[in-house]
């Protein structure tokens, strides 16, 4: 065999591709499992924030921060009290 024939023989070798009989069943099982998991996932209430305008989101964030920090008012009043 010359060079080109050898090259072609290498390139065109049969490459047996054995696909297991259960391949498609396994794929579909994983798909159904994921679909079930998605249905049982509890709703994420924070996801609703995405639908609010940005300014409202910032306002809510600021309010939450003030409320959160407000819980430490006693500590702040002692530290900051001259």
């Amino acid at each position: 065999m010359n060079h080109d024939e050898k090259y072609r023989a290498w390139k065109e070798r049969p490459c047996p591709m054995e696909v297991s009989a259960d391949f498609s069943t396994d794929v579909m099982r994983r798909i159904y499992q994921q679909a079930e998991q998605r249905q049982t996932v509890r709703p994420n209430w924070f996801g609703a924030l995405e639908f609010l305008p940005r300014s409202v989101r910032f306002a809510l964030l600021a309010a939450a921060a003030i409320i959160g920090l407000g819980r430490f008012w006693l500590l702040f009043s002692i530290v900051l009290n001259p």
């Binding site: 050898k6 049969p14 794929v27 798909i31």
Partner: protein, 180 residues
Amino acid sequence: MPEDSDIVKHVLNGDVDSFRILVERYQRPVLSMIRRLIWDSHRCEEIGQDVFVAAFQKLSTFDPARSQFSTWLFTIARNRSINALKKKALIPVEHLPEILDSRNPSDEFSDKELFAQMDQTLKALPGKLQRAFVLAEFEQMSYEEIARIEGTRLGTVKSRINRARARLHAAMKDMEGGKI
């Protein structure tokens, strides 16, 4: 036989079972492509399953006006193969896939060695050249399809395939001349 795009519509309308038709239609070419790209016959089914599951999850993003379903699916397979290659350590030569040689047994031994070295040369090519070559020469894809899968221009694909061919021819000549 229903068209791919019709099946996709059915699946998106809630008929999940129809997706099995697409899996059975494309499992062989997708697995064959993954096997050629990652050189690991043991992991190709696992990656192949991931490809189809990911395709199902992203099905709503498939746009039949932009590409064929097969091209879109092979793009996912290409990306998953690249990720798998990044994660995996180098495979020893003896674990490379065994590929049948049905020609004259007297030539078989020397050719087997030569072919194994050619496989090594192909495996050692830069990923972009290797993928373009595999998709064109082994998977018989058109240059346009490869350009879409690789997200590059047609001219770049042609250039990559030509460079890969040139390197493989040069390597084969070296092997025949006993330089390797």
